[in-house]
């Protein structure tokens, strides 16, 4: 347990310090979201309609941006070999990595989304659903993204392949997440949040195994 | 004949579907056979040079 926490905190420290991915992901998130009204026009009615979708898509992209170094940096400087050799099970290592990514990226993105929702004139109910859906859904983004990151860790331009692998797999998260926001805006009851929770749980439960297998195959000689 | 070609007014869609399908199937067959021949030839060349030694 102590080595699990040590790894978790080490990864969070690496992500949040200057040059780590977390702050950049947040800046990217804000920048992309700001560009959308410049592209589609300042009609607040339209913007509040698409707010959930835009913020969800931007959040997924921002999370992906910081994912490609999740294992690659450790792989390149050799620390991944040490982590694998440590008594900590590789599956638990994967959980720590996913958890650290979520705490350093997913959680701040969720918090920032409430602020950015103001730019889109999102209603209070919509904002609540947005924050809740991102809180539930971003772990799935980190978990699925970690699979992609582990699969591409030895590829030099892995960051280019990662989105292609991960984005189709994340379609359910985007659909349920933005669907929940839309339903809340319209005051409709919808099962979107339950479906998102189920999807997120499934991803978080299963992905450590896929991540561990991917890391193993990349370190095998 | 022209009736057959026009396909009841939907000629463009029907015939483009056929053209696209024929092109895709033809491409797959050609590409697959090309790769097969190339591989065969490469292996044969290797094995020939083996006997030359």
């Amino acid at each position: 347990m102590t080595s699990f926490l040590a790894l978790l905190f080490r990864d969070i420290r690496l992500a949040v310090r200057a040059g780590g991915g977390a702050a950049l992901a947040l800046a990217f998130f804000a920048a992309v979201v700001t560009l959308v009204p410049l592209g589609v026009g300042a009609d607040l009615r339209l913007l509040s309609r698409i707010a959930g979708g835009v913020l969800w898509v931007a959040a997924v992209l921002a999370a992906l941006l910081s994912l490609d170094r999740l294992f690659q940096a450790d792989y390149e400087d050799g620390s991944l070999d040490l982590i694998v050799l440590s008594p900590l099970q590789l599956e638990a290592t994967a959980v720590a990595k996913i958890g650290a990514h979520w705490l350093a990226t997913g959680l701040p993105l969720t918090a920032l989304s409430a602020l950015l929702a103001v730019l889109f004139d999102l209603s209070q109910a919509g904002t609540g659903a947005l924050v809740l859906s991102l809180l539930i859904g971003t772990p799935a983004v980190s978990a699925i993204g970690a699979i992609g990151a582990a699969l591409t860790l030895s590829i030099r331009r892995g960051g280019l392949i990662l989105p292609l692998i991960v984005l189709p797999l994340l379609a359910p998260a985007v659909i349920f997440g933005s669907g929940a926001v839309l339903a809340a805006q319209d005051g409709l009851a919808s099962g979107a949040l339950y479906l998102l929770t189920a999807f997120s749980l499934l991803c978080v439960l299963l992905s450590p195994f896929a991540v561990a297998a991917s890391v193993r195959l990349n370190l095998a000689t | 004949m022209s009736e057959f070609l026009s396909q009841g007014g939907y000629g463009f869609y029907v015939w483009s579907s056929f053209a696209v399908s024929a092109a895709a199937v033809g491409f797959m067959i050609a590409f697959t056979l090309c790769a097969w021949r190339k591989a065969k030839r490469a292996l044969a060349a290797l094995q020939d040079s083996e006997t030359n030694f």
Partner: protein, 239 residues
């Protein structure tokens, strides 16, 4: 020396060489019969002659899905049993599956324009098929980017299995999404019931595409086996 030359591939080469001409011939015959029958059927009362696009569209879509299924099964066998032939089979299926998926999308679009009035409709099936195409492309890109044969095969196998687990969820979510964003009511493709006259050409074309896929798949597997043999020979020569 790789285990590849000692294990089954030799036997696979012999057996496949016997079956391949028959499968290819059967594919050609069924496809020809399907095409002839397809043009012989009367135009559908609702869809007119565009129903003929169905004979190209639906079989391509079925074959694309079957290809992904076969790829996932081969991947699982390759991953669990470490059987190189299964690795080769999985990788050989991907480009074919991608082409069939793209073909299904394009013919679907050509069918949609006269029926729905738009080249693209965010219909549940079209959308999940577009995502399937991206899954195929990601798989091919990943396989191409990892140089080491073994690593590449195992990485691809993991991705194929993750994709296979996720595909039903994607399909479900997209269906859920289309009911949420109900557009103007559209004429359902194919309709609930297909008249028996249309079933025969559809069945023949589906069988023809399936046989064609298997024939091409076998040739691609054989090609990769020959390539690997050549590679081991060059390697043995170099040392």
């Amino acid at each position: 020396m790789s285990i590849f030359e000692l294990a089954n591939p030799k036997r696979f080469m012999q057996v496949s060489a016997v079956f391949l001409p028959w499968i290819a011939a059967a594919a050609a015959v069924t496809l020809a019969a399907g095409l002839v029958l397809g043009f012989a059927v009367p135009p559908d009362y609702q869809q007119g002659t565009t129903v003929r696009i169905m004979f190209l569209h639906v079989p391509a879509a079925w074959t694309a899905m079957m290809a992904y299924g076969l790829m996932a099964v081969a991947s699982a066998i390759g991953l669990i049993n470490r059987h190189p032939l299964a690795d080769v089979a999985a990788k050989a299926a991907a480009p074919l599956g991608a082409v069939f998926t793209a073909l299904g999308l394009v013919t679907g679009s050509l069918w949609g324009k006269p029926m729905w009035g738009a080249w693209w409709v965010w219909d549940g099936r079209l959308t999940s098929f577009l995502l399937l195409l991206f899954l195929y492309l990601g798989y091919i890109a990943l396989g191409g980017a990892i140089e080491d044969e073994n690593r590449s095969a195992r990485a691809c196998a993991i991705l194929a299995i993750v994709g296979a687990v996720n595909l039903p969820i994607i399909e479900f979510s997209v269906d859920w999404w289309t009911t949420l964003h109900q557009g103007e009511s559209i004429l359902r493709k194919g309709g609930p019931l297909i008249a028996p006259v249309f079933l025969w050409p559809l069945f023949l074309m589906a069988l023809g595409y399936t046989l064609l896929f298997f024939a091409l798949w076998l040739v691609r597997i054989r090609t990769e086996i020959v390539n690997r043999r050549a590679r081991t020979l060059t390697m043995a020569r170099a040392t």
